[in-house]
């Protein structure tokens, strides 16, 4: 693909006015928690940016991340920016298949060695390479080979970032995340099941305009998008504070929009932008639709004791183990008690009766 057009030229050809473009740059700056002074820098960087080559690898995934990005809503500036990158390899979106497709990947790697962006969605099976292959190449080999020449890697979706659904207990394929395998490249985790489209493009844009990796949290997620706690930002939080909870999905509390904590909402342990950026062009987010947060942008979210189990409840059965322990405790208590009684009786039988007279004799 030709990399000769700048982003702004591409956007112009798609009918994006300069005003809309600058507005977008301002929104992006605020979204990425950058100072307003960065707006001109973003604008000029974007005006001059050449189409970067992007290789998108899909491993053990459901294509939901791609769907999120491409089918979320009517074309927006973010969507057009995504069009403006040179997406040289993407199973779902590319026209080519078979050898031609693999050839496109090899070509893009050769031409842009050291400078292309590698996007991965899906986890990588480590147990048996045959669990997931593309053109006869195992996911592990393809990732290692493609990662070598990448400038940076973006792990899109919870599967690529943390292992996601394939990694869920009992993890039959030995699924691993990109960061579990690749240790020598900058990796940006953009988790979510799927991630918010604007967050995916926001991360692209940050890299595109500033040429740097955004500031990341302890889990490798950009702080600008994953710095906020869902529970802290939830519009239902006042109900939590007041102690007003929906007990079922169709009770009075649920209808009144009360807190969904008891119905298993994982908002308190989830860091994502859903509560602020929302989905479908800012329409709503899961909690607003009456369902608790699944915590999909967090590691191991499938194993958090069930989607409908409150966060304070145990993830494993405790009652049976406690019953057995109590029975063993009773047995041990009886045994200790019996030993104590034997000791007491022995002491009693060994007890010699003495009288005042005995002491008199001694004296």
């Amino acid at each position: 693909m030709a990399n000769d057009k700048s982003l702004i030229e591409i956007l112009k050809s798609r009918g994006v006015s300069r005003r809309a473009f600058l507005k977008f740059c301002t929104t992006t700056a605020s979204m990425m928690a950058l100072p307003p002074s960065m707006v001109p820098a973003i604008a000029s960087a974007m005006e001059n940016a050449r189409r970067p080559s992007v290789i998108w690898l899909s491993f053990q995934e459901c294509t939901g991340c791609t769907e999120s990005l491409t089918r979320s809503h009517t074309p927006t500036v973010e969507g057009l920016i995504f069009d403006a990158i040179s997406l040289d390899y993407h199973h779902t979106l590319q026209a080519a298949s078979g050898d031609a497709a693999e050839h496109a990947r090899e070509e893009a790697m050769k031409e842009n060695y050291g400078s292309y962006l590698l996007v991965v969605d899906g986890s990588i099976p480590l147990d048996n390479p045959g669990y997931s292959t593309i053109a006869g190449i195992s996911n592990l080999d393809m990732l290692k080979e493609t990662a070598k020449g990448a400038a940076a890697i973006i792990s899109v979706g919870s599967c690529a970032a943390f292992g996601g659904l394939p990694h869920a207990n009992p993890n039959p394929t030995g699924a691993a995340s990109v960061a579990d395998i690749i240790k020598d490249k900058p990796i940006i985790n953009v988790p979510g099941c799927p991630p918010i489209p604007v967050v995916i493009t926001g991360v692209f844009l940050h890299y595109l305009t500033l040429g740097t990796i955004p500031e990341l949290d302890g889990l490798g997620r950009p702080k600008a998008f994953y710095g906020q706690n869902i529970h802290d930002r939830c519009y239902r939080r006042p109900f939590y504070e007041r102690g007003q909870f929906a007990e079922t999905f169709d009770d009075e509390g649920a209808r009144a929009g009360w807190c969904l904590y008891k119905l298993g909402c994982k908002g308190p342990i989830t860091y994502n932008a859903c509560a602020t950026m929302k989905w479908n062009q800012g329409t709503s987010f899961p909690i607003e639709s009456g369902h608790g947060c699944l915590g999909c942008s967090e590691p191991r979210f499938w194993d958090m004791g069930g989607f409908y189990t409150a966060l304070s409840e145990p993830t494993l059965d405790v009652t049976r183990a406690v019953g057995v322990a109590a029975a063993v405790g009773a047995g041990a208590g009886l045994a200790v008690g019996a030993v104590n009684q034997i000791k007491k009786k022995r002491a009693q039988s060994n007890h010699e009766t003495v009288s005042v007279d005995d002491y008199k004799e001694d004296a």
Binding site: G243, R300, A325, A332
Partner: protein, 220 residues
Amino acid sequence: MTSAEFLLWVRGPGLQIAAVIFAFGIILRFFEIYMMGRKKNLSAKRAGGTAAGFRTVATRFLPADSETMRRSMFTVVAGYIFHIGLFVTLFLFVPHIELFGALTGLTWPGLPMPVVDFFTVISMIALLGLMWQRLTKPVLRMLSTGHDHLVWTLTFLPLLTGYLAYHHLFLPYTWMLAIHILSVELLMILFPFTKLMHAFTLFVSRWYTGSMAGEKGVKV
């Protein structure tokens, strides 16, 4: 280990281990105490002991006399504040009720969060005050053992970490929640084998004392 994995461990295997040791220990101690038995009372009963036992359970909630009250005012007041605060925090905080519900099937209404928060804070202040007294009063200091400090710490940590978790202070919530649960598990593991056992033996021993006095004809 990520915070999620840590949280998963404390909510799963960690809780199982703690609950098993807790249940084992409590039942063991009860059987052990019960089997110690009592010497047969050879004297004729002067009155019934049962009612006197229950009366004593109730009357011991009040300080014995004005002199005790005068000398130990701080201990009595701070002790009450701490115990009431702990009770409210433990049993009337909705996420805790959810846990008890999952374990026993029993649930009850909770209090609004800021109310529970208030009780958590006052019980922590009371505990700090009691520790300050323990460290500064020469007699108390001499009487204090490592056991006392251990028990104080085991009780204080769940309150502190729970407070920090609720307010999303210091560490991301997932970490703090996991540390909070871990601190409770430590408390559960050591509970049956320390002075903390008094929570279970308190009323039994009060009743015993009262009933023995009652049988001897002492007015209680």
